[in-house]
Symmetry: C2
Subunit: 440 residues, 2 copies
């Protein structure tokens, strides 16, 4: 019997705010970070890595919550844990002393995401399969037993979920072949951060098109003249055929969002992302009513706290592009229910990515969505940001503007030992060097 | 100039789970706790106390977040801080490294509540007034400048808020006189915790009526036969004229909630509280549609994460009784906007209380609501639970089933030094004794 002998926790931070990477209308000092854990077993070759993405000082708080949740797994039988990750998830969700702090949202939910990401990584490694394949190989009834469908039965029952997954199985091989050949289309946000100069914006837009991207996203929400000028620059560089999306990072109230987006419609905008509070289902519906006549869709979900929020966004017809976050929803157990609901309401899931390692996880999730849940791939596009991948043992592979199928066993969540040594906070060698530099 | 010289943080926990106090359909081991802080100044007679209510191990995580938020106030000028608590609130909300962990929800929001509760306590102490009076004395335009109205302008603008507050000012003296004479009606939950025996339930219901309560609340959501039997016992003891409310603590999905509540309607139920996920605005609307024809209203808000959720509950006509929580919403800055929106939609605010110190804070909030915001008092009733008040320097005063006007300066948030010594976790003397007892 293999058991979990210990759990390693690492506070990993990168000084991304130095270069204005990640700057937007709300986030000014975004030091991309990961609250990282590793489930260690008494078999040296078997372990599970997971994390949630945070920013700077937020990492402390997440790690404390991860510790409070995960420690119960020390001493557990790995075979049992991996056979039934849904049981582990339910155990974490039922911790009534931590439930009060949510429930199902904020720090304790991010922590649950991190821990369950590690459990799923462990389960897939143990099976010797990349996670997307591990999931797609599961019998629908087994997969559904591992999902969190609580509070969803007015939209999705377990029987319905099983039937939906069964129906897609016939297309499995053909879809995997398609992914092997073409991958899953992605778009780049790297071009359009708010802190970049016009010259840098122009250069990055040109480079993105040359690299094969068919979608470009720009941050908006500063002053209206800047937004107008920057969209003009981008559209003139990329031409009329490439899709242009804009992202306001929650800066506006509802009436202001409608007005500001309508004013930018003449640039031919595919979607407005996070126009207002991520919690405002009815507000997103009002915004959708205001901008859909201009041919613009509403995208949200990066801060979508849980499955109940996504249920409502879909019920209210408040969203056109469903942007799940792989480290905010509580891992596979909660993400697949959202994929299923989106399928039922015929809305494309276009995952949020970037940060630290979100692209690595998303490169599995989009494959699961396409192969096992949603089918038709047209109009679907996942976010990709080209930074920090060098820290991952199994980085996502992007080719000609598409995520390629991950091949290594696990959830691609393992960070290189060298990167942990260099960037662990505050003791990492790179952070020590920076402190020395600041003192001289 | 008086400045803040340090901040004391205390992890305070009480072993309330021993006696099944606080047991309900979801919370099985509710050790009531407070993540407590005290803003210390260089004037020994001036300080500010605040806390957020949590349960057991959740306290660690909240304290870490409170520390991360509050430390910036060390060295600040007390006069400036107290003149403009809205500025302090906005500064905490704008911390972009912590914002990612919410935004406006979960641990970081609970922490903001604790810190701002301490700031408001400090401001009221400095003015030598109980907080309710400090607030009611503020010019409407000044008060509104201190509120967080972000994301609310589709329902409530600053100008509208000022006008609403101005309109109520003429009734100020008459309402204060009324409160001095009669207080603000409350109801008791102490009778109906799920872990209590039928005999204890019967005895506590009888005692509550004898003490003058006109409303009794029971926990439901176990098996249907138990709910039916317990409601029968309660109704037979309290007679037909006293209001009976039920609280499911989020145990049901939407269709089940409707069915289960309809089955209990023959006991003449005033409200069903927390029938499902607290995040499910549209679900609460469906439940309201299902139970209102039976004369039952929907109550929710104890886990209502922020003002945007309450905005939607009101917009969707999904709630009949608005149950704000004084330590989950981010203090006065966010609570008064919810009171104003409820007034606009003509829904009574019936605050959640209990836990540790929630009644103390609520005894100010209901007075502010009645005197400055909502006016007519009919149909309004605030929760009261009779435990842990002995730990407070200025405990709330309840007489004949009504909260009486607090008279001591501040927000009644200060915990006795002796209680901190005894119940601080893990070093408190009472906890040490219990560990010794467990070891013998």
């Amino acid at each position: 019997m293999t058991i979990i002998t210990s759990i390693e926790f690492v506070d990993l931070r990168f000084p991304t705010s130095d270069s204005h990477d990640g700057s937007d209308a709300v986030n000014k000092d975004a030091d991309y970070s990961a609250a990282y854990l590793r489930l260690v077993t008494d078999d040296d070759s078997l372990y599970g890595c997971g994390f949630t993405f945070t920013i700077g000082r937020g990492n402390d708080i997440c790690l404390q919550a991860i510790d409070a949740l995960a420690n119960r797994f020390i001493g557990r039988d790995v075979t049992e844990l991996c056979a039934n990750p849904g049981e582990a998830y339910r155990e974490l969700a039922a911790d009534s002393q931590l439930r009060w702090l949510g429930p199902d949202k904020g720090v304790v939910h991010l922590a649950r995401a991190a821990v369950m990401n590690a459990v799923w990584d462990l389960a897939a490694r143990r099976a010797g399969l990349p996670l997307w394949q591990f999931i797609c190989d599961m019998e629908p009834v087994t997969l559904v037993a591992n999902l969190d469908l609580s509070y969803l039965s007015d939209v999705l029952t377990a029987d319905e979920a099983v039937a939906m997954l069964e129906e897609q199985r016939q297309h499995r091989e053909e879809r995997i072949s398609n992914l092997q050949a073409n991958g899953f289309q992605c778009y780049t946000t790297s071009a359009g951060w708010l802190g970049y100069s016009d010259e840098k914006l122009e250069r990055l837009c040109r480079e993105a098109v040359e690299e094969g991207y068919r979608h470009i996203k720009l941050k908006v929400g500063g002053n209206p003249e800047d937004d107008e000028r920057r969209l003009g620059i981008a559209r003139s560089v990329i031409g009329p055929d490439i899709s242009l999306m804009i992202d306001a990072n929650q800066i506006w109230d509802v009436p202001e969002a409608i007005e500001r987006v309508q004013a930018l419609a003449h640039h031919n905008v595919l979607w407005i992302e996070e126009p207002t509070s991520p919690d405002d289902v009815l507000g997103h519906r009002s915004i959708a009513d205001g901008v859909r006549p201009e041919g613009i869709g509403v995208a949200t979900g990066e801060h979508g706290m849980n499955r109940v929020l996504f249920k409502q966004l879909l019920q209210a017809d408040a969203v056109d592009f469903v942007q799940i976050d792989s480290c905010r929803l509580a891992s596979i157990n909660e993400i697949i229910p959202v994929l299923l609901m989106a399928k039922k309401f015929a809305k494309p899931v276009c995952p949020h990515a970037g940060g630290v390692g979100l692209c690595e996880l998303v490169s599995h999730l989009v494959m699961i969505d396409y192969v096992a849940v949603s089918g038709p791939i047209e109009g679907r596009v996942a976010e990709y940001v080209d930074h920090l991948h060098e820290h991952f043992v199994d980085p996502c592979i992007v080719s000609k503007g598409a995520y390629m199928l991950p091949e290594a066993p696990g959830y691609s969540a393992e960070i290189k030992a060298e990167s942990l040594t260099r960037w662990a906070w505050p003791e990492g060698t790179e952070w020590a060097k920076r402190r020395e530099g600041a003192n001289t």
